[in-house]
């Protein structure tokens, strides 16, 4: 590294450390929480919404509008990936045929590990999404776990599954769009029924899975969108990897 670059790096480091120290000097000690918002949410989420996971109540109910924005960010990014990768395929005149069998064969151990994990991961997806309003988790985490279950099938050497998924991609895209639209509809449901966007309009229940008003519905919608969107991205990437360039 030249002397000039070292000097610039040192100046940056000093500014960063100094700025961080100056900025955090007056704050409360580690582990001493003093803000009001968190305390109010933690106190109100059980009597107010019959849901024990205050994080879910905040993201889907109290701050549902923020989450709607995040949903559309994901939706637009997935659309961007589709536009980029599919256009490249058309331009280079890709061969739709697969690479030869020996090029995409997985080792025996990763086959067994991948295929053995698929069932437990599917069960975990359902559990995480269904208990989103009660225990940590929810639609977003469940959606990514569902995507990882499909990815484990592909890691186990069955990449044909992902190619089939891409060729039948309209179904996956439909799930993604239905999830995104469903979450917005929940918001509009609040607008129609109570006059406030994202206000709870369903019976809150008392105990068990059907509590928290529309939060379980929101979890399912978000799970559909996240799983669908990530599956589209992953299958496009696998498709780039496992199909041959036409020479």
């Amino acid at each position: 590294m030249s002397r000039g670059r070292l000097a610039i790096a040192l100046i940056g480091l000093v500014l960063l450390v100094g700025g961080l120290a100056w900025g955090t000097a007056g704050s409360y000690g580690f582990g001493h929480y003093h803000a009001l918002y968190g305390r109010i949410v933690a106190r109100d989420s059980v009597p107010d919404r019959s849901a024990t996971n205050a994080v879910s109540v905040t993201t889907f109910d109290y701050r549902g509008f923020d989450t709607l924005g995040e949903e559309f960010i994901l939706f637009v990014s997935v659309a961007g990936v589709i536009v980029l990768l599919r256009r490249m395929r058309g331009e280079s005149g890709r061969d739709e045929s697969l690479l030869a069998e020996e090029d995409r064969r997985a080792s025996e151990s990763s086959r067994w590990l991948g295929l053995a994990l698929v069932g437990p991961l599917l069960v975990l997806t359902v559990y995480i999404v269904a208990h989103g309003q009660l225990t940590p988790g929810g639609g977003f985490q469940g959606g990514v776990i569902l995507m990882s279950a499909v990815a484990f099938v592909a890691v186990g050497g069955e990449s044909v599954v992902l190619l089939r998924l891409r060729r039948a991609s309209s179904g996956v895209e439909l799930a993604e769009s239905a999830g995104a639209a469903g979450f917005a509809m929940i918001g509009f449901g609040g607008l129609v029924a109570t006059g406030t966007f994202f206000e709870n309009f369903i019976a809150k229940g008392t105990s068990g899975l059907l509590t928290g008003g529309f939060i379980p519905l929101a979890n399912i919608a978000v799970g559909l969108e996240v799983a669908g969107g990530l599956l589209v991205v992953i299958s496009e990437l696998f498709d780039q990897r496992f199909t041959r360039e036409r020479s």
Partner: protein
């Protein structure tokens, strides 16, 4: 701050440093995945299980998977280009 938090913070710092010092992309991706798992443990110890779950699924599953696929694609193209260069070389010999 108790011993568990101190240990986890040290581990996260060490894993982060190791991740940026590794130069080989595949190894770096795996190291980043392990860093995410350690971060998830730290979040869990700080009583943020929701964030820990998100960190596990995004940092150790989604991002490494996409990175590995992209790296594999780049390597495929590199070997294809090298293969063509070899073919040209053989043509000169003839």
């Amino acid at each position: 701050m108790n011993v568990l938090l101190a240990l986890l913070l040290t581990l996260v710092g060490a894993a982060g440093t190791i991740t940026v010092t590794i130069r080989e992309p595949v190894r770096q991706t795996i190291a980043a995945g392990i860093l995410s798992l350690l971060l998830a443990l730290l979040f869990f110890a700080l009583q943020a299980p929701d964030v820990a779950l998100s960190e596990i699924v995004v940092g150790s599953i989604a991002i490494p998977l996409m990175l590995l696929l992209a790296i594999a694609k780049v390597r495929d193209q590199q070997t294809a280009v090298e293969g063509e260069a070899e073919d040209v070389g053989r043509g000169d010999e003839r």
